[in-house]
């Protein structure tokens, strides 16, 4: 049943409807504007199950009624959806469904937006013949701390179970018992804990699965839906805020196949309560005390003027417009080129320009159709959760071949054809080897390369952090060239950056060596260099816009020193944190429910964040704050609103030239897809990515001792690499190499958010079985790692010689141990008494 079937015409209720051969009759009817009621059908969940029997239709030539959700369209099919026979069937199915449905609509949260209500009114018999006792379950009970289940209301449509089994693939939800005693549950009644569980409340067609965060908060007629974009992570999923009394009460997904496929992770769904956290910065603060905006801006202007050009800025969580304004203030008002938007460092501007070439970049939807997918140096589940589902879908539905090449075991390993594990700090080397292995050489990356070689459409999902290593991005372009990406439609690179709007900020000009549109500019200092310059006194003043170096950037001690050394620190922040505590002036940031602006998805899609909820009284739109500040510093930007800011952005950024707000609309617009899209490299002639690889991995890097590490055998793992004894990982003194990762749940989104608080991760030291045995450790033991105390966690799939620790956790943040190069750590076991 390929979707690319032949165009046919079918007749539904006497009307000719165009359709595609092989598509499901239900879809064809919907496109032809014929409404057929249904409960269980949901193409996103995989093959139809035909369980609800609501979509029965009459097809001429077939004596029995057929379920339209599972009947493929054939040329000349004649279908009736409104005959007596069909009506009878629909009436009877609704009647049957209500035999055991409690009809407690007045207390049910779904009331008013319930498909069962709608269908009962539209297709039901209108009166009840049931006088018998209905089935009873204890209700409501916790399916998880986030989702309540009311089994009496459940109509057993299989949707949640199919989601758990075929989309998120955690297989935790099961149907238990049988007949009308069937209920949805988990093994042994354990809580359903999974990062995508909230989706089951979206797809439940009755009020059986409801969010605790939205329990009894509002009725459909009390609320407004405000479409926007979630900017908690780089996935930038499209969401719809449920707003009551100008406050966000719920976040639901807004299906955009190009971005999120209609799913939403729990971070995006339940993260909204941090908007109202007590830690929220609600007014300008000067030296820790609340002040008026006038006083604050005066102090800021004074502080910046005093710096006399010795000022730097780092943008983190910012919209394109905010980033654009910030770099204008820096470059044009303060005359400083030192601006960056990356946590430490990254590729040079010319490499970034080549990476931004439309012909080597993949869009999210390309994953669906890819022949092979390489996940490189990132775990999508942690860094861009929605892409994890996307990759799983590509494997399950399209038979895509997945290869994983990372430091740390990923959630996708189970579905991979080949897995390679490289040692922390060896990403650039590995990518270089991979490029040559695809080209035919035999090296450590060969098992991975074999799947990619001649695979057709290859999509590489790579983590920004590998590009912190010199030469990694260049090597990645070699991989692109070796897999013929630039000439293959649907193939390309897709970056998972460290921050939400990394791509937008880079393109808006928040880079030390590139201005708006990645244009040439006077070179400034990168984040790491800014830190060193602050310590040395070369720079005196720092502007942090939505960046929290003390939590998110590597080398926390150095940052502490830098912030202390700085004369003046201005921080724009949403919440009070360690960084704001060390800042002279703190200005409040808007949340993504309050902000008006655009962001750019890692695949180049400009999306609009729309103001949906009211701001706290003293929070002012950040664009206005920045333009006001520019005016105070003597720079007239001509920006006084979102439209003028957007206009200024598109005028200045060549890639965005001519994009209109309407073109972005609700679905976003990839600038590469626009007619007459300008390449980032206009004017700077360089060989294309398909040409000779220039600036590949530096030779010094190539000669470095190979420290590939051996993954523990997995069922399908075919990765072969140097034995662990060869690498530096097992140093003679027993020190281990430290690898770090950003945990999905680390950060304010869990810490400041009552419903998600239970997920707040604790630091733990992931260690291989081999090393654990050597150090006499078992899971749960307390250990000290270079001063950080944490719990040891023996993991089967961790390669020997390496330990992994989480970044961004509040207690024992691994960023404190990083210093830009490979870090050896010593693990001491703590006695129960000392711990």
């Amino acid at each position: 049943m390929s979707p690319a079937g032949r165009e046919v015409t079918i007749t539904i209720d006497g009307r000719e409807v165009p359709a595609v051969e092989g598509e499901m009759l239900h879809d064809a009817a919907r496109k032809g504007d014929v409404e057929i009621p249904y409960f269980c059908y949901e193409p996103k969940l995989g093959d139809p199950v035909g369980a609800c029997r609501m979509c029965l239709v009459e097809i001429e030539g077939i004596p029995k009624l057929q379920t339209s959700c599972s009947t493929p369209v054939r040329e000349g099919m004649v279908v009736h959806t409104r005959t007596e026979q069909v009506k009878e069937a629909q009436n009877s199915v609704v009647e049957f469904l209500l035999v055991n449905h409690p009809l407690d609509c007045p207390v049910c949260d779904k009331g008013g937006e319930c498909p069962l209500q709608d269908i009962s009114y539209g297709w039901g018999p209108g009166k009840s013949r049931v006088i018998d006792e209905k089935r009873h379950f204890e209700k409501p009970i916790e399916l998880s701390p986030l989702v309540a289940i009311d089994r009496e209301r459940c109509i057993l449509c299989y949707r949640c179970v199919r989601f758990s089994q075929e989309v998120s693939e955690d297989a935790q939800l099961q149907l238990i018992e049988r007949g009308d005693r069937t209920y949805v549950g988990t093994f042994d009644d354990r809580p359903y804990v999974a990062p995508f569980q909230g989706n089951i409340t979206d797809i439940c067609p009755v009020g059986a699965l409801t969010n605790y965060t939205y329990r009894f908060r509002a009725r459909p007629w009390d609320i407004e839906h405000a479409g926007s974009v979630c900017t908690i992570c780089p996935s930038q999923c499209n969401v719809s805020f449920t707003v009551r009394d100008e406050k966000v009460k719920r976040v639901i997904s807004r299906d955009n196949h190009e971005v999120d496929d209609g799913w939403l992770c729990d971070r995006g769904r339940y993260g909204f309560e941090m908007f109202d956290a007590p830690e929220r910065v609600r007014e300008p603060q000067l030296k820790g005390g609340a002040v008026s905006w006038e006083q604050a801006l005066e102090a800021v202007a004074e502080g910046l003027r005093r710096a006399g050009g010795k000022v730097a800025a780092i943008a983190g969580d910012a919209s394109n417009e905010e980033g654009f304004l910030l770099q204008r203030i820096l470059r044009d008002a303060l005359g400083s080129p030192h601006i960056d938007s990356r946590p430490s460092r990254g590729p040079k501007a010319d490499v970034l320009r080549r990476l931004a070439e439309p012909n080597v970049s993949a869009k999210v939807r390309d994953i669906d159709e890819a022949d092979a997918i390489l996940v490189l140096g990132t775990d999508p589940l942690h860094s861009s959760p929605i892409l994890d589902l996307r990759v799983r879908k590509a494997i399950r539905r399209n038979g895509a071949k997945l290869v994983v090449a990372t430091e740390r075991p990923t959630a996708l390993d189970g579905g991979a054809e080949a897995i390679a594990r490289y040692a922390p700090g060896q990403a650039a080397h590995f990518v270089g080897e991979l490029a040559s292995a695809i080209g035919g050489s035999d090296n450590v990356a060969t098992p991975v390369a074999e799947t990619l070689r001649d695979a057709g459409k290859v999509v590489v999902i790579w983590g920004e952090r590998i590009a912190r290593e010199d030469g990694a991005a260049e090597a990645l372009l070699d991989v692109a060239a070796a897999t013929n990406m630039s000439t293959t439609d649907g193939a390309g690179l897709l970056e998972i950056p460290d921050t939400t709007n990394a791509r937008g900020l880079r393109e808006a000009g928040c880079l030390p060596d590139a201005g708006p549109g990645l244009s040439d500019t006077t070179a400034g200092k990168s984040t790491e260099e800014i830190r060193e310059a602050l310590i040395s006194g070369e720079l005196t003043t720092l502007v942090l816009f939505g960046a929290d170096p003390l939590r998110d950037f590597p080398d926390t001690p150095a940052w502490e020193e830098a912030l202390t050394a700085a004369d003046f620190v201005l921080t724009f922040s949403m919440h009070d944190n360690a960084t704001t505590a060390k800042s002279d002036v703190v200005l409040p940031l808007e949340t993504h429910a309050e902000k008006d602006g655009t962001v750019t998805h890692p695949d180049g899609r400009l999306q609009r964040v729309r103001p949906s909820a009211s701001r706290p009284e003293n929070v002012v739109p950040n664009i206005l704050v920045l333009s006001e500040l520019a005016t105070k510093l003597g720079l007239d930007t001509g920006i006084d609103s979102q439209p003028t800011a957007f206009q200024a952005l598109t005028n200045a950024v060549t890639l965005y030239n001519g994009i209109e707000d309407e073109q972005i609309g609700g679905r976003g617009l990839r600038w590469q897809d626009r007619e007459g899209a300008t390449s980032a490299r206009t004017g700077t002639e360089q060989p294309g990515p398909g040409g000779p690889p220039e600036g590949g991995s530096p030779d010094t890097q190539r000669d470095a001792p190979i420290s590939m590490v051996q993954p523990d055998p997995t069922p399908r793992g075919v990765a072969s690499a140097d034995p662990p004894s060869g690498g530096p990982s097992t140093a003679a003194n027993g020190d281990l190499l430290l690898g770090t990762y950003r945990d999905l749940w680390a950060g304010p989104v869990t810490e400041l958010n009552p419903p998600l608080k239970f997920l707040t991760p604790q630091q733990r030291v992931e260690i291989s079985r081999t090393d654990a045995e050597r150090l006499d450790l078992k899971s749960g033991d307390k250990v000290r790692v270079n001063g950080i105390e944490a719990e040891a966690h023996v993991k089967e799939r961790v390669p020997a010689g390496v330990v992994f620790m989480a970044e961004g956790v509040s207690d024992g943040n691994a960023n404190a141990l990083l210093n830009g190069g490979p870090v050896q750590v010593k693990i001491e076991k703590l006695d129960e008494a000392t711990a």
Partner: protein, 184 residues
């Protein structure tokens, strides 16, 4: 001929007719007019005299209303358990054409139940200055938790005082409005 009331010629053209009111005074007719007509009028007055006074001395006394009179709303509790009948479903708010009902629901805590169901109305407010007393809320209510009462004394000095809270709506009115009796 057209008349323009404003034109001078119109006024000029009116012929003034003197109207004589009643017969000329004096004589038998005059005496009759002085007493006869008055007595005739008094006859009705005297006849009603025995019926007693008809004045309802509001506010000391109140006009009785019909049983289905739609006055100020009342919220109800179950008589046996004392739990509120309202579960905070907001259907009344949805039905209200004047949009004067605001409901914020909350979940019952076992041990400290407010209503019989899972949820209850944490906030239930009716803005009586906007209410049009149509009774749709009563019709919409699936639990007969809200009914239109007989109270009609709602005047106040401040508009804000006309927003009735749940406690006010649950409380019995201080004085009962009398009902009209059968057949009245």
């Amino acid at each position: 001929m057209s008349f323009d009331p404003k034109s001078a010629s119109y006024l000029d053209s009116i012929e003034v007719v003197e109207v004589q009111r009643g017969p000329k005074p004096g004589g038998v007719g005059g005496a009759y007019r002085a007493f006869g007509e008055t007595l005739r009028g008094l006859k009705t007055t005297m006849a009603r005299l025995i019926e007693g006074p008809m004045t309802i001395e509001y506010p000391e006394e109140k006009t009785p209303v019909y049983p289905r009179f739609r006055g100020r709303h009342k919220l109800h509790k179950f008589e046996d358990t004392g739990l509120e009948k309202c579960v905070g479903c907001s259907l009344c708010a949805a039905a209200c054409p004047a949009d004067c009902i605001r409901v914020v629901a909350a979940e019952n805590i076992p041990g400290d139940r407010v209503s019989a169901g899972e949820r209850y109305a944490a906030v239930y407010e009716i803005n009586l200055s906007r209410c049009i007393f149509c009774g749709y809320c009563e019709i919409a209510c699936p639990f007969d938790a809200i009914t239109m009462g007989h109270d009609y004394e709602m005047a106040d000095y401040d508009r804000r005082d006309l927003i009735f809270t749940k406690e006010m709506l649950l409380a019995e009115p201080v004085e009962r409005t009398p009902l009209k009796s059968e057949g009245e």
